[in-house]
Amino acid sequence: MSAITHHIPDAILAAYTSGSLPHHYAVAVASHVSLCLQCRASLEAHQNMGGALLDATDRVAVSGHMKADLLAQLDAPVTPEPVYTRQGIYPRPVVEALKGQDPRWKSVGMGVRQSILSETKEGSVRLLYIPPGQAVPDHGHNGMEMTLVLQGSFSDETGHFGVGDIEIANEDLDHTPTADPGEACICLAATDAPLRFNALMPRLLQPFFRI
């Protein structure tokens, strides 16, 4: 398998580490880090930076009873939370968003399918299934779009993206990602909502179709 060549910029990793990155993008970042040693090392460097700041913070005395309260809780039984782990091509954050279920694919036309993982006012994150050789329908996005390849590969005006590669496009990029021949391409795509598939239907209709 080829090496990952498209990574996450430091500023985005720092925002992810600190928690300021919106949830839909954080799913994509955590998924890429699951696959990429280089970005994992960068993420952990940011964590060490956060740790250095924490260590240098002025102390504020805590209430006197706190330690005793805490020690009393150490042996309390813990209800285990569900722990999701990688399943096949899907890294943990995707499996978690799917709550361990299989993706629920819905056709958006031309053989392209999607499975929406989450959608809020702030943005959305979804899986896209693109048949070999097929172009992703022309789409616009407000703000940044992150596309992480989980299976197969695609190419667009900016380059070639294989498994583990993440494309981070700003809104000026008018691109036509096309799945390479061979295997169907499965991607994780995070955008500021809504993702607009221009060629498929008039924009006004789109809210009905949740695209």
């Binding site: 300021s20 040693l37 740790g51 805490l70």
Partner: protein
């Protein structure tokens, strides 16, 4: 064996004692060191003292329960606790679960590599030095960034986060796990 290496910081020694021996005295030492810092750190985001204490309590409980996840070859104790604190803060404030990557666990039988642990501590020391040499306004911006108060656009407008060479050090720590990593892609 590690405990005899006095060069390794006492925080790391305490954390390993908690992880490997469920040592309560070591946990108390960690609490005494980190709880007041965590409270101060969390209050900088505008949390009340009471809310900050609740988060500190949750964070320290997680430190005890998830101690097995601590890997000194990649992170300082403070870095590990920093991330737990940020995650908890987001859970509380935004009521959403933060997505986290697949975990890479050490092989159960693998021996600790003291030279790597020391190297990470040295690199973290360099980070602290770099931080203390920043102008106050620069430092304030970096603090805001790591307290989650800047967007990624705002962070990218800031030049040169002083991450130094720690990335390559951590990468070496991760390479120790390559046995497991092979299965990841």
């Amino acid at each position: 064996m590690l405990q005899k290496k006095t060069e390794i910081s006492e925080q790391t020694v305490w954390m390993l004692a908690v992880r490997d021996n469920r040592d309560r005295d070591a946990f108390c030492a960690l609490f005494d060191h980190f709880a007041p810092r965590l409270k101060g750190f969390i209050m900088r985001t505008g949390c009340s003292a009471a809310q900050a204490e609740e988060i500190v309590q949750d964070v320290m409980l997680t430190v005890w329960r998830k101690a097995a996840m601590f890997d000194p070859h990649r992170a300082q104790v403070s870095a590990w606790i920093y991330q737990i604190a940020r995650n908890r803060h987001i859970d509380v404030v935004r009521k959403e679960n933060r997505p986290v990557p697949d975990e890479l666990a050490e092989d159960p039988g693998s021996e600790p590599d003291a030279s790597q642990i020391l190297a990470i501590e040295q690199e973290a020391g360099e980070l602290k030095k770099a931080l203390s040499s920043l102008k106050p306004e620069q430092r304030e911006i970096i603090e805001k960034a790591y307290l989650g108060e800047l967007t990624h656009q705002e962070i990218s407008d800031q030049t040169g986060l002083p991450l130094g060479t720690i990335k390559s050090r951590i990468r070496l720590g991760l390479e120790r796990l390559r046995h497991e990593l092979k299965g990841m892609r």
